[in-house]
């Protein structure tokens, strides 16, 4: 493997990690708003907040899945290969 390939793979790994971090961050915001709304269902601000971040979450997941493979099984997009088991599992240490 030459040096340039190493750099490219490093960049892809960094992008994957950053996008996953963004999904974890926004996913957390969605969960937090969800729990708040369960006990404050009439809070219009919280509902707006939930809708905004839920939309953003779905965009980020679609972006991630198109580049790096499925996050849920419904994100499997390949006709030729079973991609569900290709990427690291969440409990594996990041390289």
């Amino acid at each position: 493997m030459n040096k340039q390939m190493n750099v490219q793979m490093g960049t892809a790994a960094n992008e994957r990690r950053q996008l996953l971090r963004d999904i974890q961050t926004v996913g957390f915001v969605v969960v937090e708003a969800q729990l708040f709304l369960d006990t404050h269902p009439d809070c219009a601000d919280a509902l707006d907040y939930f809708n905004y971040y839920n939309q953003l979450y779905m965009q980020l997941v679609a972006d991630y899945e198109s580049k790096f493979g499925p996050l849920t099984v419904n994100g499997v997009q390949s006709n030729s290969e079973w991609t569900w088991v290709n990427e690291p599992w969440p409990w594996e240490k990041e390289a």
Partner: protein, 199 residues
Amino acid sequence: MWNYDRKLQYPVNIKKPDARAAKVIITQYGGPDGELAASLRYLSQRYSVPYRDVAGVLTDIGTEELAHMEMISAMVYQLTKGLSIEEIKREGFDTYFVDHTTGIYPIAASGAPFTAAYFQSKGDIITDLHEDMAAEQKARTTYDNILMLVDDPDIIDPIRFLRQREIVHFQRFGEALERTKDRLDCKNFYAFNPEFGSK
């Protein structure tokens, strides 16, 4: 039903194996105030609740607890991966190793295996919500104790996240209890079980 997301709720990346830390952190998997007991508690209690919003709180927090169980399991996995036999013996992990090698199995720090006796599902939402609030406080204390026993920032960071979630869940259960009490008939001043035989 549930779907699996191929991500942890919060990142776990522990670079240095530490069998001693794994021995205490595993208690939040299979111990008396651990995430497995929390999840089973809320997900069992929710069915008979007569109020949909309260059943929602139990469903959503019970689901988040499954994600916390996965984080704790990932921590124990990473803390025990690559240990040498010398480290396993020196750090007192041999008593776990002999039964489970470095597989992940739900036990308390004392070695007691997980048991459903750690939690109740009483069929009385007022009683259950009081237990749930206490459970969140007990888990928070356990995380406080873990934080006194570890010094690796890679361990401290996810443990602090989990500790904060106990505080938020305590708050939500408190609100669920208030919303439950708001609905009680004025004749039910002493808050007898609204799930059974009160009408």
